[in-house]
């Protein structure tokens, strides 16, 4: 009897426990608390929390900064699913047949990617955009009448996205290149025998072959764009005059700047909602590809 019960213990439950406990206590439980807080007026400190229903969300609907933040997230997404995707795909195609030099180029491209956002942002702030010590200053010395693109309300969001894209695009090169290299060689040779040019080769052989990866990356990029935070916070802090505010920075400044944790939770929920749509598609595609 005793032996029987002992044999019944499935040690695998103990093995999965550490990962699950950490993930649940850091992400799931606070995540659920955020959902609850989004219906309250909590300021982070006060012990009195009162439920105010949908008031936070109603206020957000009338909030100009919130609308601008969503708009900026959309701009960010549109830029990211076009510019780095094109550069990444183009450079991956160029590297595909450069067997000897491929590694060198890939490593050089990846250096901005492996540096910390804080370092990259400081680098661009001080050596590129600064009107005192940057390339902008050098151009001004040469007589050009330009100022930092971060200072203007119209261009700041594009400048932030530009820096983030500078840091990010090589990631896509690596991913696309790895996928391209799995294209069946006989298909490529068959197309070449039939006299296909480079563009036709790309369009009808390589692109269909890496389509799964391309789709997957589109979703990963979109999710990432709604989470955008680091570069904006570091380059402009959401300014000038909220011109570069995105949902991520707005939620952060609501929670830690103006102590409106309830409202910040509501914004966090909105970000999650956008993320959830994208990640449902991602999950669906992953399952379709038989990963689970």
């Amino acid at each position: 009897m005793n032996q029987k019960t002992r044999r019944k213990i499935n040690w695998n439950y103990f093995l999965i426990a550490p990962a699950l406990i950490i993930s649940v206590s850091i992400i799931l439980v606070p995540g659920i608390m955020t959902i609850v807080y989004s219906f309250t007026d909590w300021n982070g400190l006060s012990p009195n929390i009162s439920f105010i229903g949908l008031k936070n969300f109603q206020q957000l609907m009338r909030d100009g900064i919130f609308k601008r933040a969503i708009m900026n997230n959309v701009i960010w997404t549109v830029m990211f699913i076009t510019i780095p995707v094109c550069i990444g795909m183009f450079s991956a195609m160029l590297l595909l047949n450069r067997k000897k030099t491929r590694n060198f180029y890939q490593l050089a491209f990846l250096i901005p990617y492996v540096l910390a956002p804080s370092v990259n942002a400081m680098l661009w702030l001080n050596i590129m955009f600064s009107p005192v010590s940057g390339v902008i200053a050098a151009l001004r010395n040469m007589g050009l009448d330009i100022s930092s693109p971060l200072a203007s309300m119209k261009t700041a969001i594009y400048a932030c996205a530009g820096v983030d894209i500078w840091h990010y695009w090589s990631y896509l090169t690596v991913i696309y290149l790895a996928a391209l290299r799995q294209t069946p060689q006989d298909q490529v040779e068959a197309a070449m025998v039939e006299g296909a040019g480079s563009w036709q080769l790309f369009r009808f052989v390589y692109l269909p072959s890496i389509m799964t990866t391309v789709k997957m990356m589109f979703i990963i990029i979109t999710i990432g764009c709604f989470l955008a935070f680091d570069y904006i916070k570091l380059l402009t802090g959401g300014g000038p005059a909220h011109a570069t505010e995105v949902l991520g920075t707005y939620a952060y400044s609501l929670a830690f700047g103006s102590m409106k944790v309830g409202k910040a939770a509501a914004v966090g929920l909105v970000i999650s909602f956008f993320g959830l749509i994208a990640s449902s598609i991602y999950t669906y595609l992953t399952r379709k590809e038989n990963m689970i």
């Binding site: 499935n10 439950y13 999965i16 550490p18 990962a19 950490i22 993930s23 850091i26 799931l28 606070p30 807080y37 982070g44 400190l45 450079s91 160029l94 450069r98 030099t101 490593l107 050089a108 491209f109 990846l110 250096i111 492996v114 540096l115 910390a116 956002p117 804080s118 370092v119 400081m122 680098l123 001080n126 050596i127 590129m128 005192v132 010590s133 940057g134 500078w166 990631y171 690596v174 991913i175 990356m217 990963i220 709604f226 989470l227 935070f229 916070k233 991520g248 939620a251 952060y252 929670a255 830690f256 944790v261 914004v267 966090g268 970000i271 993320g275 990640s279 991602y282 999950t283 689970i292």
Partner: protein, 283 residues
């Protein structure tokens, strides 16, 4: 015929040259800002503002000694190493065990747990940050490096679990069965049979998580308050606020931060690239 071949050869060379020109242009775009930082790190302030694009008049390392002191990098690097090291250890232990269990569907609900981790991978930090921050504040854990490591580990965990699971899926079933027949328990099985087979996977996950943690900004800047808990990057950021005028020193500190990361990346490139790719492309 011969003429034709020659022409074909020539267009081939022209083509290849054009490709290299484009690729080198991309390299220039990637590295020019970094090169400018290195150049300016040797210059005095006045020299930088006069012309940031010029080469330094003399090679002087004064900026570096100054940067090391004002950025408190001795402390910062120790803190960064602590934060990153603890995070890597937590992630590796937890994700290896979980990956082993989930690869074999050894428990009920494996599918549900995988689905949970898949969703957790895409959760925005702002969904759990605020309650977590105030809970940590109440527990007095703000500025606590190991406690912050746990958060960073939780954010890297889903991807690590998936990667480790893939590595375990590639372990031949026969290997495990043979060990079982020889009477190995689960602990022995993991340590003597699985670990050697999946250890390249451990390095890949470790490198990926390590670099991610070293570079992380949102969580570490929120939870590691107090100057004595600053990581190297946080020390560097605080310099930018208070040391705005001494550009040369700031550039030198940037180089101090860039150097080790680039060196580590170049040494570990294979594992890093493998890790990036295995997350997105199925081989």
């Amino acid at each position: 015929m011969r003429e034709n071949k020659k022409r074909l050869n020539r267009t081939k060379i022209a083509r290849s040259t054009a490709v290299h020109v484009i690729l080198l242009l991309l390299v220039f775009i990637c590295l020019a800002p970094i090169a400018l930082v290195v150049i300016n790190s040797f210059k005095e302030n006045a020299e930088i503002t006069r012309n940031p694009l010029s080469f330094p008049a003399a090679l002087q390392f004064e900026n570096y000694t100054q940067a090391w002191k004002t950025g408190r990098f001795a402390l910062g690097f120790i803190n960064s190493i602590k934060l990153t090291g603890i995070t890597i250890i937590i992630v590796l232990i937890c994700s290896t065990l979980a990956g082993y269990v989930l690869a074999g569907k050894r428990i009920k609900g494996s599918g549900a747990i995988l689905l949970y981790f898949l969703m957790a991978m895409t959760v925005p930090i702002q969904l759990f940050l605020f309650p977590l921050y105030y809970a940590y504040a109440r527990l007095g854990l703000i500025g606590n490096i190991p406690a912050t490591s746990v958060i960073l580990a939780a954010t890297s965990m889903p991807l690590a679990v998936f990667m480790m699971r893939t590595f375990f899926l590639n372990v031949p079933k026969e290997l495990e069965e043979a060990a079982r027949i020889d009477g190995a328990g689960t602990a022995q099985l993991i340590w003597y049979v699985m670990r050697p087979v999946v250890s390249p996977g451990l390095i890949t996950v470790g490198v990926l998580v390590g670099l991610q943690t070293w570079n992380e900004y949102l969580i570490s800047s929120t939870f590691l308050q107090g100057e004595k808990n600053f990581t190297a990057t946080l020390g560097f950021l605080s310099m930018n606020g208070s040391y705005g005028s001494a550009m040369g020193v700031l550039m030198a500190s940037a180089v101090i931060l860039i150097g080790p990361v680039v060196a580590f990346f170049l040494i570990m490139q294979k594992y890093f690239v493998d890790g990036m790719v295995s997350g997105a492309v199925k081989g």
